[in-house]
Symmetry: C2
């Protein structure tokens, strides 16, 4: 397997965590999102992922899977332990609900390409873009997630699930952009519990071969 | 079951399609997103969905599920036929990949709350907001989806899957906002195939009890 990745991409970070938790080794192929006007837009990469986004997971037969949550669900079927989406349908819906609250309603608004649009075509200042960033991380994002989490210390109990795998990179982003999250104790507890696990720690952007 | 919905919400539209395909009857409870400053922000609704978004599905025991894709995956487990996420793990990943390309990378950028932020705090004109809308629907959105679809007439073959359930409301939005999609023949074919099915047609915003 090959993982097309970028150290700072939080979507790639999610897949790195899942691979580590499952003990699956994938060759990491860095795709630099800033150099050469964005190497994710080069034809060779577009042929693999027409969305021009990382991550993408290339299987040994050449099949390419896109979208971090689709990839993680695939890995969960490929190697069911430790289970990231619980078998119980209601609990699975709650786990996916938290994961998607971040993946659909928080992260996409703060993606590099979106911030570039605000700075470029819309000509907003860095301060305006920072306010936008903080707004979406908190509003409808992490503040809602705090209320959707029902377990401890992880989001849904004694072990990490897909919810934690998606949450932790968003928390890392919040810290990087100085978004205040001290008022979210359940998220802080999940973050502390996950950070103590080597599979999570080893997936952190700062520990990637392409880190700058 | 109760579905908290709004006729124009494309996330609620997705769940309405899935319920119809499965033949599951849920009581529809309209939540008007524009009246009274947005009824989704009233305490009674926030207690059900702290994200202040529709849809939410309330089960008979009072459990509330949020996030349209999490709800549809739940319905797919509850009543497996017709199957919306295929059993084959690779095909499932491709189906989820298309669904998430729309749900994560297209729709959230064009949500009502985001357009309101652009018009309010950022003070952009309607023309600027329309350009933003068209950009995200096409760029990395439907143009990429066109290349990720591998079947016909539906996205992945002879019957609708989760990919079609998420695609069709996005196509309806594109049409409503005059986004040109005539150059996307596979999407047009899937849309035509789905529109011919009563479960899809009956879920259309114009046919909801709360339509205006």
């Amino acid at each position: 397997m090959r993982l097309y990745t970028y150290f700072r991409s939080s979507a790639a970070y999610r897949v790195r965590i899942a691979l580590n938790l499952k003990g699956i080794v994938a060759e990491q192929v860095p795709v630099h999102l800033m150099k050469d006007g964005g190497r994710q837009r080069m034809p060779a990469y577009l042929a693999k992922n027409p969305q021009a986004l990382v991550p993408a997971l290339e299987l040994d037969d050449g099949t390419v899977l896109t979208q971090s949550i689709a990839i993680i669900e695939y890995l969960d079927q490929l190697k069911p332990e430790p289970r990231l989406v619980p078998d119980d349908p209601v609990l699975a819906a709650k786990v996916r609900g938290v994961a998607l609250a971040i993946a659909c309603d928080t992260h996409p608004l703060n993606n590099l390409r979106v911030l570039n649009y605000l700075k470029g075509p819309f000509g907003r200042s860095q301060a305006d873009v920072d306010a936008w960033y903080r707004h979406w991380v908190l509003e409808g994002g992490l503040q809602a997630v705090e209320r959707l989490i029902t377990g401890a210390p992880f989001c849904f109990g004694a072990g990490p699930t897909l919810a934690d795998v998606i949450l932790i990179p968003q928390v890392a982003n919040a810290r990087r952009f100085d978004v205040p999250i001290d008022h979210l104790p359940k998220i802080l507890a999940a973050d502390a519990a996950c950070t103590a696990i080597e599979a999570f720690a080893r997936a952190h952007p700062s520990r990637q071969p392409d880190a700058e």
